[in-house]
Amino acid sequence: MSEIRLVVIDASGLHARPAAKFVQTASRFDSRIVLRQDGREADAKSLIALLGLTIRPSSEITLAADGPDADAALAALQAELAPYVSQAG
């Protein structure tokens, strides 16, 4: 499993529109992809699961992917999230 850690910097957290775009991008990949926050995990291909994490500004999130296209998926999703996050230090 590959993973990257990120911090949400957008003032609105991970809100509905970027979350929806994120789900659309994640759904293009075969890998199992999850987003974790505070010990809770959401399927990156499900908007309900993502919104249910209620990701707020300054939250540290981990994006993890497992499968044949895991690295490509993480790269695409990190690009998708770029305006909203920074690398976790």
Partner: protein
Amino acid sequence: MGLILVSHSGTLVDGLRDMVAQVAGPDVPIETAGGTEDGRLGTSAPRISEAIRSVLDRVGSAVVLLDLGSAALSLELALEDLSAADRERVHISEAPLVEGAVLAAVQASVGASIEEVVAAAESAATMAKMPRA
């Protein structure tokens, strides 16, 4: 698959359609049936059946989301007006209108099956909005 948004208020579903299209993108057909034929608050069976037919002309199946009260009665009348073959292609969602429409459209936009779309919409009823302690 496409969505039909049914409400007592035309303004409400017009705004909701804009919001859903912005969140989910342009690929999911959405029709609205809000208000009565003379522009008052209420629901209209003919407007609902017209909206359903318009979606079914473009895609194989449709999910209807509605607000409350007599919207259900008007929807039942509208369904009676469809052919049996068309009725088979329509699923009525119990989901809350706003949240259900957004979730359904996003799942539909990624090519999910109608069962997955319906399940996504209905999960909106218990979706967390505020962070849980």
